[in-house]
Amino acid sequence: MIVAAGYYMALAAALFVIGALGMLLRRNVLVMFMCIELMLNAVNLTLISAGRALNDLNGQVAVFFILVVAAAEVVVGLAIIVAIFRRRSTASIDELSDLRG
């Protein structure tokens, strides 16, 4: 028996919503960053299941590229967080509102 792609899509939607809610609710920069990873994974899951349902291998290639970009993003993002923490000694997003208009 093959699980229909829609169920994978539903799971991915749930994961994405949880990630988006975490993004809105949490104040800790690191946890917000993890929520971004959660949302990226949800999108990857949709690409894989859509690729299988449509008999197209390019879905998996797209996921491969997303993984690479996510890795680069994590490296730069965490470096920025560490650099900010060195100056301000805080990981709370509310304290870091210098750039607001």
């Binding site: 899509m9 560490v82 805080t90």
Partner: protein
């Protein structure tokens, strides 16, 4: 049948991990929840014959990225777990409204689509999407070779940028 049981189990662990990421007060617990979600999603990749992507997911995400996260958490200090004091006025109210809209939208699309978003008219052919290394490499190095080179450049730039940021001294404040 096997895939159905696997899907139910892995969906539950993935959702539990995702909820842990959002709810846990200690960032280390959040990282552990993320680890559970990443592994569950990797198992779901294998169930969908994306073997190579699943291996990359475990190595890059669960291995490298999560280790980096834990390293930074330990560097910054575990005891800075946020106390959820809201400093911005009415923020919680607007978050509640946005959360309701998102949940309604996602639920409506999911149920309204009747679990049939992807047209199932095409016969699913397991051979066509068997994501072995050879099968992935073939489009990667023919159709997408330019994008592949661009990601190599991107990784180099991000590594250089991370080193530059790490050397950033900052004004004494």
């Amino acid at each position: 049948m096997v895939e159905g049981i696997l899907f139910v189990l892995m969906a539950m662990t993935a959702l539990a991990g995702a909820v842990t990421v959002v709810v846990a007060r200690n960032p280390v617990y959040s990282a552990m929840g993320l680890l559970g979600t990443l592994f569950s999603v990797a198992v779901l990749y294998v169930a969908q014959l994306a073997h190579f992507v699943a291996a990359v997911q475990v190595i890059v995400y669960a291995g490298a990225v999560l280790t980096l996260f834990l390293f930074v958490i330990m560097f910054i200090g575990v005891d800075t777990s946020d106390d959820r004091d809201e400093r911005l006025p009415k923020q919680r109210f607007w978050v509640g409204i946005m959360a309701g809209v998102i949940v309604l939208l996602a639920g409506g699309i999911t149920l309204g689509g009747n679990f049939n978003w992807v047209p199932a008219a095409i016969e699913t052919n397991p051979e066509a999407t068997n994501g072995t290394i050879q099968a992935i490499a073939e489009p990667l190095f023919t159709d997408w070779v330019l994008a592949f080179e661009a990601t190599a450049l991107l990784l180099t730039i991000s590594a250089a940028g991370a080193i530059a940021l790490a050397h950033f001294k900052g004004q004494r404040s």
